[in-house]
């Protein structure tokens, strides 16, 4: 499943939020206020009153320093690699949280994240993963270890070792359900790609995106089948 859900209020603030009752460092605080200001500026034409109020509550201002006459932010460089890597990191966090919920692992309890050797674009964000997932360490492995619960992002496998043993039957059922879903998803993508009108008329980037979805889904189906095979031993 591909989710894009990266925003200021839900993601960014959570990433930089200091632990409960702990202070925040001044660099992060200053950057955060600056981001907030920029966001209020681009929102101002749409929501003039709220943004002016926030502008003045964010920090003390000189007389006449009002958002209505502030300059809109200029666009700066955007590093696509960072944005894409973060998208991936985000999926991993969502994966971890899903498992915590399913297995009743409290957020307070640290876990270890193992990942299969391979191309991990999100590696630059490991410190963020550790914070958001409450992970004590992240380690690469070459084979799937025993007694772990696994999840997949893109075509990569991730494992979380469990203290108690896993119910093999449940695990197989879950994997099979996911396999069924992914196959259905692949099917719908293929349908789109076999539609000549779509392929000929849609912008190249859109078609490329669909092709990427196809490749991802195919890789994932392969991994899922392997996992099911392994569990069945």
């Amino acid at each position: 499943m591909i989710l894009i859900w990266d925003d200021f209020c839900s993601w960014y603030l959570e990433m930089i939020k200091p632990p409960y009752k702990h202070p925040v460092d001044k660099t992060t605080y200053a950057k955060t206020v600056a981001f907030f200001e920029d966001l209020m500026k681009i929102l101002h034409p749409f929501m003039p009153f709220l943004t002016e109020e926030i502008w003045h509550l964010l920090r003390d201002r000189e007389e006449g320093d009002d958002i209505i006459i502030a300059r809109l932010p200029e666009t700066g460089p955007a590093d696509e690699k960072i944005v894409n890597a973060f998208d991936k990191a985000e999926q991993v966090i969502i994966g971890i949280r899903k498992i915590r919920k399913e297995k009743n692992i409290p957020n307070k309890e640290t876990i270890t994240l193992l990942l299969k050797k391979g191309k991990h674009d999100e590696s630059m964000f490991y410190p963020v993963l550790e914070k958001m997932g409450n992970i004590d360490k992240i380690e690469e492995v070459t084979e799937k270890p025993d007694n772990v619960i696994s999840f997949i992002v893109g075509a990569q496998e991730y494992y979380i070792p469990l203290s108690e043993s896993v119910n093999v039957e449940d695990e197989i059922a879950k994997l099979q359900e996911e396999l069924k879903y992914t196959e259905g998803f692949l099917n719908s993508v293929m349908k789109k790609l076999s539609n000549e009108r779509f392929v000929n008329n849609a912008p190249e980037a859109v078609v490329a995106k669909e092709k990427k979805k196809q490749a991802d889904a195919e890789a994932r189906i392969k991994v899922l089948k392997e996992q099911i095979g392994n569990l069945k031993g």
Binding site: D25, L39, I68
Partner: protein, 651 residues
């Protein structure tokens, strides 16, 4: 700092409109690049409806953005005197007070009208302030302000002297309810369920009949011929004969013309040159008499011979009964046809011969079409270009005179011998008349035309007159602010207003009045029905603002308003806007709740987060800027919204 736990839009909105006191909305020419919008002036006695809300929210977004880009932003507000609508309201008010318009003088009536304007005028501008509209209120204009009034008169005289304005008897659209002629564009054609009446006309001196079909049996009293197709075998025996108009037995000729559609009705047509455009043209061609059977209010006059003083629709019922009694009625069929209604009063339009003033459209329309075709003016969305082209290529001369008092009085003065002069004042007219016609003339010999000009004949100058560019064509303001940048308007006034402003701009500035026209959608209810008082499905904008805050309503309107498409408005969208405010408020409270430790080093995870968000922000900002250049405001808002808070259902 103590931040309240809940965001209070009312308190905030009252507080911040002091932007105005700080004169942030005011603009004066300077060295910066100007960004100018003129408001589509609402009726001076109107109140805010959802269409205004949408339209003005869009303008405010554009103006505020330009201001924040460092441009010298100027949004000129104002109101329109709205001749027909306002005069109707004043007449009704006087009637309620027991005063009859016919019994008082023009001067007295205008006093009442101005009084009404002072009392009810401008409410709508106060309402716009509640929405947050950042207009330059110091520049507020009214189409009857002295400067604007004088400009209209000056333009009339100029066009008259150029030979572009002429007076003539033409078939016009008469609105019997408003008691005035209206332009072709002010007639709304609707399909209605009518009846088609088959009526026998006896051949003079013979016991033979010709059967015609008509939807308007009451007009047979004005018939002056019956017409058939020359090659129609069924009627050849009638060629050259006369038939008798039923009930009044007036003999009229049977004429032949290829104009007749043999498939329609019986193939024989009654011809009433005074009350049908096509009949009028046939009348001229065949030199037929023209008998006008209607009074100004739609009742029958003495020329009708029967039913004198009765209303046209009452007469329709009566005459059908009488025709049945006399044996002339053959049959009645159900029939679907198009009928013209007045845009203002919804009265059924009566085509009628009348002496009116017209403005020649030919050259004006040609230039106005050219600048849209060659992209000097761009329409958003571009589909409106086709509609515009079609109208411009088929435009007829513009009837600019109205039989009303509230408006700019036509500056033409008649001499006793029927000659006329156009002038700013009676004194000037006298000078002119003495030079041109008769040096012995006196003031008393001159009488001014009683009519006023069409309201659109003043608002077509709006982008120029708000800067006084007709009277002073080289003044600082007009040179700086004109041409304006963007016009935001509803699509239903593309001909009334948009096209004519372009004509006036080309004629008087030799330059387009604006570079972009953003056509908004029509606000409908969530079931897609047009909002109307009778349906009761039009929410009160001020109540919505009370409930959700102005910001919430603005967001609610814009989230579903792609240019040119109809907007199915659902108040739930305003709720989404309000929730968004609350989310931002909570983020503020979170951040302001943190203690700062200046000794603390930045954690790596925070450093990465900052780096990520900077890239994310810049990527999205590029997207937003791109949407703005394409006038995709809804998309720009959606992208901004999602960057701040993505509350989409993740499934």
């Amino acid at each position: 700092m103590d931040i309240p736990s809940k965001y209070n839009p009312q308190a905030t909105e009252d507080k911040w409109y002091d932007w105005m006191e700080k004169r942030y909305f005011h603009s004066e020419p300077d060295e910066r690049e100007p960004y100018t919008i003129v408001i589509p002036p609402p009726n001076v006695t109107g109140v805010l409806h959802m269409g205004h809300m949408l339209n003005n929210t869009i303008q405010d977004v554009l103006v505020r953005r330009a201001r924040m880009q460092g441009k010298n932003a100027c949004w000129v507000p104002g109101t329109d005197h709205a001749s027909i609508a306002t005069e109707a309201k004043v007449v009704a008010k006087l009637k309620a007070d027991g005063i009859d318009k016919e019994k008082i003088s023009r001067e007295k009536f205008l006093e009442h009208a101005w009084e009404w304007k002072e009392k009810h005028g401008g409410i709508i501008l106060e309402q716009l302030k509640k929405l947050g509209a950042s207009c330059d209120w110091e520049r507020t204009r009214f189409t009857m302000d002295e400067a604007l009034y004088e400009s209209v008169i000056q333009v009339f005289i100029d066009l008259y002297n150029k030979g572009l304005i002429y007076r003539g008897i033409r078939m016009i659209n008469w609105d019997p309810s408003a008691g005035t002629a209206i332009s072709d564009e002010e007639v709304i054609h609707r399909e209605v369920n009518s009846k088609l009446y088959y009526i026998n006309y006896q051949v003079e001196g013979e016991n033979d009949f010709i059967t015609i079909a008509t939807t308007r049996p009451e007009t047979i009293l004005g018939d002056t011929a019956v017409c058939v197709h020359p090659e129609d075998e069924r009627f050849k025996r009638f060629h050259g004969k006369k038939v008798l108009v039923p009930l009044i037995n007036r003999p009229v000729p049977v004429i032949v013309d290829k104009y007749v559609d043999r498939e329609f009705g019986t193939g024989a047509l009654k011809i009433t040159p005074a009350h049908d455009l096509h009949d009028y043209e046939l009348g001229i061609k065949h030199k037929l008499a023209s008998i006008d059977i209607f009074n100004d209010d739609g009742t029958l006059n003495e020329s009708a011979e029967l039913y004198i003083g009765k209303d046209r629709f009452a007469v329709r019922e009566e005459i059908v009964k009488d025709l049945e009694k006399s044996g002339n009625l053959v049959k009645i069929e159900d029939y679907l046809n198009k009928v013209g209604f007045s845009e203002r009063t919804d009265a059924v339009i009566e085509p009628r011969l009348s002496q009116q003033w017209f403005l020649k459209m030919g050259e004006l329309a040609k230039r106005a079409l050219e600048v849209v075709e060659n992209g000097t003016i761009r329409f958003h969305p571009p589909k409106f270009k086709n509609i515009y082209r079609h109208w411009m290529e088929n435009v007829r001369d513009w009837n600019i005179s109205r039989q009303l008092w509230w408006g700019q009085q036509i500056p033409v003065y008649y001499l006793p011998d029927g000659n006329m002069v156009a002038a700013r004042s009676k004194e000037e007219a006298l000078d002119l008349a003495r030079k041109k016609y008769d040096s012995g003339l006196n003031l008393e010999d001159l009488s001014q035309d009683e009519d006023v000009v069409d309201t659109w004949f003043s608002s077509w100058l709006w982008p120029i007159t708000v800067f006084d560019g007709i009277r002073y064509p080289d003044n600082k303001d007009i040179n700086y602010y004109y041409p304006t940048n963007d016009l935001v308007t509803a699509p239903d006034i593309i001909f009334f207003w948009v096209a004519r402003m372009i004509m006036a701009g080309m004629e008087y500035r030799n330059e387009v009045p604006f570079k972009n026209v953003y056509f908004t959608g029509i606000v409908r209810d969530k079931l897609g029905r047009k909002m109307s008082k009778t349906l009761g499905n039009s929410p009160d904008p001020l109540k919505l603002i009370d409930q959700y805050g102005a910001d919430g309503v603005r967001v609610g309107m814009l989230l579903t308003a792609p240019a040119g498409n109809d907007l199915p408005f659902d108040p739930a969208l305003c709720e989404q806007g309000r929730n968004f405010s609350n989310k931002i408020w909570n983020a503020l409270r979170l951040i302001k709740g943190w203690k700062i430790d200046t000794q603390l080093e930045q954690p790596e995870s925070s450093r990465l987060a900052v780096e990520w968000f900077r890239s994310k922000f810049n990527t999205t900002l590029n997207e937003i800027n791109d949407y703005f250049t394409k006038y995709r405001l809804s998309d720009a808002l959606m992208a901004t919204y999602k960057l701040i808070w993505d509350d989409s259902d993740l499934g």
